[in-house]
Amino acid sequence: METYSRRWFLGAAGATTLASAVGLTACGSSGGSGSSGTLTAFVYGDDAVKVQVKSVNRFNASAAAKKAGGKIKLEKVPGADYPAKLRTAMGSPNAPDIFFNWGGGSIKAYKDAGQLLDLTDILTSDSALKDGFLPSVISAGGLSGHNYGVPMRGMQPVILFYNKTLFAEHKLTAPTTWDQLLDINAKLKKAKITPFALGGKDIWPELMWLEYLTDRIGGPAVFDKIKNGDTSGWGDPAVLKAAQTVKQLIDDGAFGKGFSSVAYTNGGAPAVFAKGKAAMHLMGSWEYSTQLGKFPDFAKKDLGWCAFPTVEGGAGDIRNVVGNPTNYWSVNAHTGNKDAAIAFLRDSASKTYASELVANGDIPTTSNAEALLDKSPNPEFAKFQYQMVQQAPSFTLSWDQAVDPDVSTPMLTEINKLFVGQSTPEQFVSAVKGLK
């Protein structure tokens, strides 16, 4: 108990110093697990959260909750603040019992601190959970062979979206090779249309280009090596080639003017794409629901999608996917009621839960998902996405989620410097090689 309170004191005081020095209000964590048998669950508070709200209500009313003697209280944390708030809460006595995360590097610190419940055995033995999910999705979120998360949202592969109407107007077809893509760029620029929308201010949309190009040029093994802690992996010629290819696109004006001050998260880049100012957009599958929410006509009539093209002479299969396999629920190892937490996780494997994800436009990562996809708002897109992930020889977790935050932050800074022209591809490679 004594160490706990000291930690809390340090945590609270440390956060207060930093926060007050910069004029922020320190965010104390609220909620927490009391002795009342209520478990707190932190979730990323975006539009998709309604599926989790229903799941919690269903669980709280269920016999399973009564049997385990615990109820769930859902704490919706607004998007951009989520990782920092989770970190603050996990360092305090008010840590959530269950929490949303991206798997991989995003939970490594919690695993190292002994705060994660190892779910490997439960996922292979529990009757409701085993066989419930696509195996590649379960393992993509794990750490060194152990699993700490149960999938709870739709799959989020990165897809090349394009404007079908604009493509038809200029007699273009979706590219399958890099040369075709360059050819399309040239034609679009002649027609005064920016080839690609890009929300460079957020930086992670820039990262998607490097992720796919590195995969297509050098295959998935290149980043696998880096992810496993071998920083010499950045020295692979594929990384340099990918950076050079990106540089050519930028110098060629493929992303239009001002891309570095356009953001994805505030709707800037989706608007550029939906209003026909740009013809293509490399983005996670959530682009579909974003457009459906903001520009429904565009989403229904004009939005097309395809896999990222191959690069001539490259090692990567066109079926390889990068992105976020999904999001996960993880359980705090110190939770007061393990049984209730696991009973709650079982709901994520249920058919009802999967159907609700589908109705929301998401593609569940459950093994029964395919049969449900006809009920999706856009079955054609849903099936494309499901098959894309199901058939992928490899699924590379987004780089910024796969590595530790203290590596991913400077990595993103270096990527931004490459995109805004502050460093050359060679300087980029030597800078990321130095990250540890």
Partner: protein, 298 residues
């Protein structure tokens, strides 16, 4: 002092302890507040700067590691340069504009009173709201100014200076307005009789009389610029690249993006030391501490 009647001292004594200095207990709330919310967190930041801590578990002592890293970090030099540049340019911009506006607003005309009230509005808005507003106005595709303002190093820097000025000039205008109103009318009347014009009056009377006001306003501006944060976070996130990553932003990035609270605390401590040293220096150089009346002999 010599004119103070001797009986005055005597009567104070006669009043006993109660009528003398306020009891020491009166400072207690202030001292407690300052201790808990300023001194204690600062002391903890100093302690954390000698540890490695990612926010979970106990901080691990690492000696001088963070400090060595800080001193050899290229980004610290860059950040320091940007911070100093931002401080100097903001100071120059805000001082000139608020001095002129403040002196103008000191006039008793009705229209000036109304306009001054309107000019004051930006200061009442939250800096986050202001930054979001300007971010939208500067959007390269849908904004008012469809240039790549925030994507270029100069543009982003000037945007931050401008937005900061837009927000804080009203406050400093108010200080200068108050200062200008304190200047005795007789000085201007005497100058007018001597044949001094408007400009001569401004440079020979108004400016010298506002010396103490300018010092107050400048100290506030400079110390404020050192801890400037929200505008950078929202407008540029330190970008393009790292070109507008001022020290407080660097600290935020280390703490709340990399979860390297030890290193972030080292930056925070550095910032506290630098800001304190700078304000002490300013107070010394400007004679603020022993502020002398600008109206001696009047």
């Amino acid at each position: 002092m010599s004119s103070t009647p001797v009986t005055g001292k005597g009567s104070a004594r006669q009043g006993g302890a109660r009528a003398g200095r306020p009891h020491a207990a009166w400072v207690l709330p202030g001292v407690l507040f300052f201790t808990f919310f300023a001194v204690a967190p600062m002391a903890l930041a100093v302690y954390l700067s000698f540890t490695k801590w990612n926010g979970l578990g106990d901080p691990q002592p690492v000696g001088l590691d963070n400090w060595r890293r800080l001193l050899s970090d290229d980004r610290l030099i860059q950040s320091l340069t940007i911070t100093v540049l931002l401080t100097v340019v903001s100071w120059a911009f805000q001082t000139v504009v608020s001095l002129l506006l403040g002196v103008w607003a000191a006039g008793r005309q009705r229209n000036r009173a109304i306009l001054s009230a309107i000019f004051f509005v930006p200061f009442l808005l939250s800096s986050t709201a202001i930054a979001l507003l300007f971010y939208a106005l500067l959007d390269p595709n849908f904004g008012i100014i469809r240039q790549d303002t925030l994507g270029s190093t100069k543009g982003a820097f000037l945007a931050i200076v401008f937005v900061g000025g837009w927000q804080f000039i009203p406050f400093h205008t108010l200080i200068y307005q108050g200062g200008a109103r304190q200047i005795p009318e007789v000085l201007y009347q005497a100058a007018a009789i001597d044949g001094a014009g408007r400009y001569r009056q401004f440079f020979s009377i108004t400016l010298p009389q506002l010396r103490n006001t300018a010092t107050t306003s400048s100290v506030l501006m400079i110390v404020g610029s050192l801890t400037y944060f929200e505008t950078v976070l929202i407008l540029t996130q330190g970008g393009p690249g790292t070109d507008t990553a001022i020290l407080p932003y660097l600290m935020y990035e280390a703490g709340f993006k990399s979860y390297d609270f030890g290193y972030a605390s080292a930056i925070a401590t550095f910032l506290v030391v630098a800001a304190t040293a700078l304000s002490l220096l300013l107070v010394r150089l400007t004679g603020f501490g022993s502020m002398r009346s600008t109206r001696e002999g009047m």
